[in-house]
């Protein structure tokens, strides 16, 4: 996973830790009494955990709850690709009904993951609203879905794969790799 670092001299990827701070600043005004945060596995959950720490005061002031989604059971490429070998239980430990849900994802790409996440959320109840927060927005939207808040726009072509990784010391980093030719477009 890390070995491709050197072979793609990418147009300077921004530092994920800097972006995280930008994201926290932009997110803070959205947090109110009735909001709840939901991270999408895996990158979105890492981001959420960091945001919970960075915005600790505001979050405890409003009593904001949080949960996680693994959208494996809602993906639209199941018929082509099957179920991922690794999937984790979704955990929504609060009542979704009438909540203002803020979905958190690492990279916004086609919009298909967001669609899957929204479909799953509605099986827990009827939220008052859903907004989307992403660390990075890249081009390639395939559905009429867009994030409300992003920390950076990084246009990439379809052969490039951008993902968030968590380093051994817990800090987050963006990683750009080339697609294997056999792989079709990522479901992001």
């Amino acid at each position: 996973m890390t070995e491709n670092h050197s072979n793609s001299p990418s147009p300077q990827l921004p530092d994920a830790e800097d972006l995280l701070k930008v994201l926290a600043q932009k997110l803070e005004p959205l947090l109110q009494k009735n909001t709840a945060l939901v991270g999408i596995h895996s990158g979105g959950v890492w981001l959420m955990q960091r945001l919970l720490a960075l915005l600790e005061n505001t979050i405890s002031k409003h009593g904001i709850e949080h949960g996680t989604l693994d959208v494996s059971f809602y993906r639209d490429d199941y018929a082509q690709r099957g179920l991922k070998a690794e999937n984790r239980p979704s955990q929504i430990p609060f009542d979704v009904e009438n909540k203002h849900i803020i979905l958190i994802d690492d990279v916004f790409y086609t919009g298909r993951t967001t669609r899957a996440a929204m479909n799953e959320l509605f099986d827990y109840g009827r939220p008052a609203s859903i907004s989307l927060v992403a660390l990075v927005n890249r081009d390639g939207r395939e559905l009429p879905i867009a994030p409300q808040i992003v920390a950076a726009d990084i246009p990439l072509d379809a052969s490039q794969h951008l993902q968030l990784t968590k380093l051994a010391d817990g800090t987050l980093a963006l990683e750009l790799t080339k697609h294997n030719s056999a792989r079709t477009q990522e479901h992001e």
Partner: protein, 334 residues
């Protein structure tokens, strides 16, 4: 060697028996089931994975619990489900199994869940069907009942997560039990260090030790210090000759009572695949007692069956994929 259960990429194609399945596949099923447990606790207890698919429950032998849990599992995956009690339909008019299957394929069935009194029935159907159709063995003769074995291991893992540190006793009619065979294969594959079978000689298959189990004929001795007790049903309907003096006599020697349960570890759990013969292999106090996990087994059975069907039905048959992919890294998708 050609394993009929796996495609050429090493992915699960049919679930016919636990024997022959690598640890990787067993863990994939168990881990996926973990994700399905939570689905049953939500407002909407369904996921859309099998939308548009038709699952056929082909039960040539009766089983209310297994059929019901497979039916619920398929419905929670959004499949359309047809349950056929074949013993009472075409078979009695002389149609062969494969004719029945062909007719259902002509009706666009995508998956068969098969229960049959004859060992190997599910294998026969799996060999016969085209590559996009999947077969799940829901119990064949004395041979195998893989989803029961998997749900038992899943239940054990829920209560005793460290499988590498357990002593497990399987008690009773091992000879007639496809459940016991599936349990033994699953437990040994997953690295449980000590699996015991406790039964009279007449209810043990010859050379049962070859499955990697420790054999006990004495209940007191065999239950000592175990973490898990898996009781088996005394299968009266499969017993041809009189192998036992009487069921009262059996209960006295091999029935699980509170007193005998005390020989196991104080936090041992008690399991039974059902249906129970209360007062024959298990005392009511134990079956309903606080160490019993018999009803959670039923609940987890749905999650396991959802996991198996969801893993089978997804993706394209190996022949239709453009690239092979190595068996060591099945699916491989990020």
């Amino acid at each position: 060697m050609n394993n009929p259960q796996l495609d050429r990429d090493g992915n699960l194609k049919h679930l016919l028996s636990i024997e022959g399945l690598p640890k990787r596949i067993l863990n994939q099923i168990l881990d996926t089931a973990e994700s399905f447990v939570g689905v049953a606790e939500r407002e909407v207890k369904k996921v859309p994975l099998l939308r548009g698919k038709t699952v056929c429950n082909l039960f040539f032998e009766n089983s209310t619990r297994t059929r019901t849990t497979f039916e619920i599992a398929a419905k929670r995956l959004s499949a359309d489900v047809i349950s056929l009690n074949v013993s009472t339909s075409s078979q009695s008019k002389g149609e062969t199994i494969l004719d029945t299957v062909d007719n259902l394929i002509a009706m666009h069935a995508d998956m068969f869940v098969v229960r049959h009194a004859q060992s190997g029935a599910a294998h026969l159907i799996a060999k016969h069907v085209p590559p996009h159709i999947h077969v799940v063995n829901a119990g064949d003769g004395r041979h195998s009942h893989p989803t029961q074995g998997l749900l038992d291991v899943f239940t054990i893992r829920k209560y005793k997560p460290d499988l590498h540190n357990l002593k497990i006793a399987i008690v009773g009619d091992v000879l007639h039990s496809r459940v016991a065979r599936s349990e033994i294969h699953a437990l040994t594959t997953l690295g449980v260090p000590e699996v015991r079978v406790i039964a009279p000689k007449t209810l043990l298959p010859t050379q049962v030790e070859k499955l990697g189990v420790h054999v006990f004929h004495d209940m007191e001795e065999g239950l000592k210090d175990v973490d898990v007790i898996m009781m088996l049903r005394l299968q009266n309907e499969r017993m041809s000759g009189a192998m036992l003096p009487s069921s009262q006599e059996y209960f006295k020697t091999y029935g699980l009572t509170q007193e005998k349960l005390k020989l196991a570890k104080p936090d041992a759990i008690v399991m039974h695949p059902g249906p129970m013969n209360r007062g024959v292999e298990i005392d009511s106090n134990v079956a309903d007692g606080k160490q019993s996990v018999i009803l959670p087994q039923v609940t987890y059975g749905i999650a396991i069956r959802m996991a198996v069907m969801a893993i089978l039905a997804g993706g394209l048959p190996a022949q239709q994929q453009s690239s092979g992919g190595s068996p060591a890294n099945p699916g491989g998708a990020a």
